[in-house]
């Protein structure tokens, strides 16, 4: 088992996994609080346009997808504020427009496209050093932003009018939040793929919510659960020779189920004790 740790691709996967685990779980708190899981899913799908553009122009698809998803996020935020179209309809429009553009662009390229498979299902073991540098730099920057600004973001989500009355620039912070969710989702796609990337936004925070007694506990436990899911998932996927992204998600689901069962048992025990 330990000989795998000496392999560069495994080292890159672990470093990237730990950074993405912290990033997506922290961000997931705001995604769940704002009830915007569909936004992260929509952005993940829409970024196919960026991946396809990268493939077509021989640029790194990850980098192009980061740029494209940021533009989509700014567009969604702007349309939400400036039009009367419902938020989920706006996301649906962008989601399908991005996917359709990606499909059209990919049809222009002949032959097998491994980037497309990697986009759909993720492959963290194929991560290059150049991608890791971008992932680590951008990921750490967003984590620092979230830690420094978590109070303003939480207040803005709980009630934008109260946030405005407290001199928080709601439109600006909302757009920044959307852009960092979009960037993080695209970074996470390298590990889990478009199909599963939302899992790391939702599962750790949903698990931590079961037993957390404060917002700060929720932040800490979400990160711990996310990191545990990723490390355990990586190890299990190597031992069992199974797809890494899917095993990480199933590990997270397993931890969630055990936590939920343990919590219910604890409640039953408590009710018996108190009669």
């Amino acid at each position: 088992m330990f000989e795998y740790l000496a392999l560069p691709f495994m080292q890159r996967a672990i470093i990237a996994g730990l950074i993405l685990g912290a990033l997506l779980s922290l961000l997931g708190i705001f995604v769940v609080l704002k009830r915007m899981a569909f936004f992260s899913d929509g952005i993940a799908h829409a970024s196919l346009a960026g991946v396809a553009l990268g493939v077509l122009t021989n640029a790194n698809p990850l980098f192009v997808a980061l740029g494209a998803s940021s533009i989509f996020a700014i567009l969604i935020s702007w349309l939400e504020r400036k039009t009367k179209i419902a938020s989920d309809a706006i996301i649906g429009l962008i989601f399908t427009a991005g996917m359709a553009t990606g499909v059209v662009l990919l049809s222009l390229k002949k032959g097998y496209q491994p980037e497309l498979v990697s986009f759909l299902f993720g492959n963290i073991l194929s991560l290059q050093w150049s991608e890791l540098y971008i992932m680590a730099g951008l990921g750490l920057l967003i984590i620092i932003y979230l830690i420094l600004r978590h109070k303003q973001l939480a207040l803005m989500i709980l009630n934008p009018d109260i946030a405005h009355a407290n001199n928080i620039k709601v439109a600006l912070h909302q757009t920044i939040l959307y852009v960092i969710i979009a960037l993080s989702v695209v970074l996470g796609m390298k590990m889990l793929g478009v199909v599963l990337v939302s899992a790391l936004l939702i599962i750790p925070v949903s698990t931590a919510k079961i037993f957390s007694q404060s917002f700060h506990q929720l932040m800490a436990y979400s990160v711990i659960i996310s990191e545990l899911s990723i490390v355990l998932g990586l190890v299990l996927s190597i031992i069992l020779n199974l797809p890494t992204g899917a095993v990480i998600v199933l590990t997270g689901i397993g931890i969630f189920s055990l936590t939920m069962a343990g919590h219910r048992l604890k409640l039953q025990f408590f009710h018996r004790q108190t009669g």
Binding site: K151, D161, H164, N166, F215
Partner: protein, 236 residues
Amino acid sequence: MNAIHVKNLTVAYDRRIVLNNISFEVPKGSLTAVIGPNGSGKSTLIKALLDLIPYQGRIKIFNQKPSLALNRIGYVPQYFDFDRTMPITVREFLSFISPVQSKQASQVCREVKIDSLAHKLIGELSGGQLQRVLIAQALYKNPELLLLDEPSTGIDIAGAKTFYEVIEHLNQEHGVTILLISHEVNVVNKIADQIICLNTDLICDGPPQYALTEKVMHQLYGPNHEIHQHNHQPHP
């Protein structure tokens, strides 16, 4: 000196006029209540005062534009809808507002009677407790003006009584100017120094005994509304 000066204020959503050319003043240190039926523009008025929506006309708060006076305003919204399963303690929620000194924070919590709730989750509070936490957040920056948008909605009788006691205390003991939107005409008739009656237009404006006439009530709410008269003594 006036805390609020509104001149020829008009607000429209698309082509629908919600507030039509209204003008009024709120004296500093007063407790002013805004009444009117649903859809009469009461909440829109507060949104305009907070510079949350575009408007025509002139608004001055302590002689400043609303956007420049935000530091002097505390605001309690009509609705506070959130994911109640999210574990956020009262203390954490209040810390989202501003990092105030603990002594001042404790004083605010005592004033609004929530000092025993600091470690409770906001999702587990009763309607009355949550409303007092929302007032605490509005008081954290030591405002000179408090805007309250139907603050007693969804609170039981006991909770509403405590709530109005807190409001009167803040106004009388600390000199905070209060603009209160309410449907409880008989309560505001008892506690307010000034009443503003809205129904898109400004129907009336003045002390309760002069403003709340049968004719005005009929104009606002129809024929079957009764007012209980109080021997109202305006605050000095």
